[in-house]
C-alpha cells in the first residue's frame, strides 16, 4: 500500500541563495492498494521520477504525508528506513549498476545486503538472470553490456529479493518490443504474486496493452487518478 496525502516536493538546493526553488510536486494525493498495479505517466519533466523517489525514501517531502507498505515515512529511524528500502525493489531510469561488479554480483547485492545465505543467493540470482535472458552473461561487467541488457540487469536486481513493492522508472526505455513485452509479463506475474507495482513510462502503447489504473502527471500535479 502506498498513500500520498497532499504531498509537495521542493528539492533542497544547498548552494542556492537567490530566488525561490520551485515546487516539483504539488498537492499530490493518491492511494495504491496492497497488491495493486499502477501506471505512472506524463510528459518528460512532469515529476514521475521525483514521485518515485519519494516512495523509495530517497527524498523527504517538503509537505504532506506518505505511507509506504503500512509505514509512515516521516520520522523513520535510519535503520527502519533501510529495512523498509529492502522491501522495495527499484528499477532506476539510469539503471545504477555498480560498474566494478559483474552482472551476477550486481544482482546478488540486495540479497547479500539482506544477509541471505550464499546458496540461496546463487540459486535465486541464476533463476532471475535466466528469466531476463542474461543467464549466459553472469560474469560480464556492466560496461560490456548493451543498454537493454543493462536495463535487464537492473530489473533482475530490483526483483531478486521478492520485494513487496516494485517501482520501475521507464523500465522498457531501452528494450525492443519483444523484450518490453517479456518484461511486462515478468512484472505482471510478480504483481499477481502480490507485489504492489508502480511503473513509470512514456510508452502509451504499452499502457494500452496492459490496462490498469494510471497516475498521470503534468507539471508536478496529478492530472488523473484512476
Amino acid at each position: 500500500m502506498v498513500i500520498f496525502e497532499d504531498v509537495w516536493l521542493r528539492y533542497r538546493e544547498p548552494g542556492r541563495t537567490m530566488g525561490p526553488a520551485s515546487d516539483v510536486l504539488r498537492a499530490i494525493s493518491f492511494e495504491i492498494p496492497d497488491g495493486g498495479f499502477c501506471w505512472l505517466t506524463g510528459p518528460s519533466g512532469a515529476g514521475k521520477t521525483s514521485l518515485l523517489k519519494l516512495i523509495y525514501l530517497a527524498e523527504p517531502p517538503s509537505r504532506g504525508q506518505i505511507e509506504v507498505l503500512g509505514v509512515d515515512a516521516a520520522g523513520l529511524k535510519r535503520r527502519q528506513a533501510a529495512m523498509l528500502r529492502r522491501r522495495i525493489g527499484v528499477v532506476y531510469q539510469d539503471f545504477r549498476l555498480l560498474a566494478h561488479l559483474s552482472v551476477f554480483d550486481n544482482v546478488a547485492l540486495p540479497m547479500r545486503l539482506a544477509r541471505r545465505a550464499e546458496a540461496h543467493v546463487r540459486a535465486d540470482v541464476m533463476e532471475i538472470l535466466q528469466w531476463v535472458g542474461l543467464g549466459a552473461k553472469l560474469e560480464a561487467m556492466p560496461a560490456m553490456l548493451s543498454g537493454g541488457e543493462q536495463q535487464r540487469v537492473a530489473i533482475a536486481r530490483a526483483v531478486v529479493n521478492r520485494p513487496k513493492l516494485l517501482l520501475a522508472d521507464e523500465p522498457t526505455g531501452n528494450l525492443d518490443d519483444e523484450q518490453a513485452e517479456r518484461l511486462m509479463r515478468l512484472i505482471t506475474a510478480l504483481n499477481q504474486l502480490g507485489t504492489t507495482t508502480v511503473v513509470g513510462t512514456h510508452n502509451m502503447n504499452l499502457v494500452a496493452r496492459y490496462p490498469a489504473p494510471r497516475l498521470d502527471m503534468a507539471e508536478g500535479r496529478l492530472r488523473l487518478h484512476g
Binding site: Y56, P60, L84, R112
Partner: protein, 290 residues
C-alpha cells in the same frame, strides 16, 4: 589476507582506497611511536639506575691538612643513623679518580689531595651529616647522590611527558591521514555508496566496508613501521648503554624487555585508529543521505 577484512569488495575499495600512501604514512607514524615508547622506557631504566645506588651514595672529603681528624670523622659518620659501609677510599683509588684531570702521576705533583670517605647513606641531601661532621672538623665536605637522582628524575619525567605528547600527536596525525584517505575513497565511490544505501544497506554496513579497508591498510603500515623501528632501536640502545649502566656487549643493551611487547601492539593500535576513524568519517558523510 585482506579477504579476512573485506569478504566481498562490493564497493571496489581495493581500488578506491588502494594507494600505498596511507600504509607508508601510517608506517612512518608507527616508527616514530616506536621510538617515543622506547625513549620513555629507556629513561625509566636510567632513572631506576640513578635512583638506586647512586641516590644513596655519600662521599665525604676531609682536607689533607685535617687528616688527623679522619678517625673522628669516621666514628661520627658511623654513629649517624642510616649510614653503612663507611670506608676510607685507598689513596690509589682516589688517584685513579683524579687521573683524567691531573695525569698519571698524581702523587708526584705533591698536591694536598683530600682524604675521601665513601658510605651508603639513607638518601636525602645529607645536611644532618654535614652539620655533625662540621662540628668534628670544619673543612669537611659532604656530597650525596640525591641531588643527581632528583635531576635525573626530573629529566625522566619530562622525557616521558614528551613521549606521551609525541604518541598523542602521532596518533592524531595517523587519524587525520585515515580521514583524508577515507574521504578520497568516498569521493571516488559516492555513486556506489548511494546505490547500496538505496538497496537498503545500513550505515553500519557501508561504514564497516571502509573501516575494514582502512584498518587493513593502517595495520600493514603499522607493521612496517614497527619492524623498521626494531633495528634502529637496537642501534640507539647500543649508543645509550653506557649511560644506562649496562654493559654495551650485553644482548640488547639498555632496551627494556617491555619494548618487545609494545612494538607488536603498534600495528594493532594503528589498525584500531584506522577502523575507528573510517567509521566516524563514513557515518558522518552518510548523514547527508536521507
Amino acid at each position: 589476507m585482506a579477504r579476512l577484512f573485506i569478504r566481498r569488495d562490493d564497493l571496489g575499495l581495493r581500488t578506491a582506497m588502494g594507494e600505498a600512501l596511507l600504509p607508508m604514512l601510517v608506517g612512518a607514524m608507527s616508527f616514530l611511536a616506536g621510538l617515543a615508547v622506547a625513549g620513555a622506557l629507556a629513561s625509566g631504566t636510567l632513572a631506576r639506575h640513578w635512583q638506586g645506588d647512586t641516590a644513596r651514595a655519600v662521599t665525604i672529603q676531609v682536607p689533607a691538612n685535617e687528616a688527623n681528624a679522619v678517625p673522628a670523622v669516621l666514628a661520627a659518620t658511623r654513629a649517624t643513623p642510616g649510614m653503612s659501609d663507611v670506608r676510607v677510599l685507598p689513596v690509589a683509588a682516589v688517584d685513579e679518580l683524579l687521573k683524567p684531570w691531573l695525569g698519571d702521576d698524581v702523587a708526584a705533583l705533591g698536591l694536598p689531595i683530600p682524604i675521601v670517605i665513601a658510605a651508603d647513606g639513607p638518601g636525602g641531601d645529607g645536611s644532618a651529616l654535614t652539620a655533625s661532621l662540621t662540628r668534628v672538623t670544619p673543612g669537611v665536605l659532604v656530597q650525596t647522590g640525591a641531588l643527581w637522582a632528583a635531576r635525573v628524575a626530573a629529566l625522566t619525567a619530562s622525557l616521558r611527558a614528551c613521549a606521551a605528547a609525541m604518541l598523542v600527536i602521532v596518533a592524531m596525525v595517523a587519524a587525520a591521514m585515515v580521514t583524508l584517505a577515507t574521504r578520497a575513497g568516498i569521493a571516488q565511490r559516492h555513486f556506489e555508496i548511494e546505490i547500496i544505501h538505496g538497496l537498503g544497506a545500513l550505515d553500519g554496513d557501508i561504514a564497516r566496508r571502509f573501516a575494514a579497508r582502512a584498518a587493513w591498510l593502517a595495520l600493514l603500515g603499522g607493521a612496517g613501521g614497527s619492524l623498521a623501528a626494531g633495528p634502529v632501536l637496537m642501534w640507539l640502545s647500543g649508543l645509550a648503554a653506557p649511560f644506562a649502566g649496562v654493559a654495551p656487549q650485553s644482548a640488547w643493551p639498555g632496551l627494556s624487555p617491555a619494548l618487545w611487547f609494545v612494538l607488536p601492539t603498534l600495528p594493532l593500535l594503528a589498525g584500531g585508529i584506522g577502523w575507528a576513524t573510517a567509521q566516524v568519517t563514513v557515518r558522518r558523510w552518510l548523514g547527508r543521505l536521507t
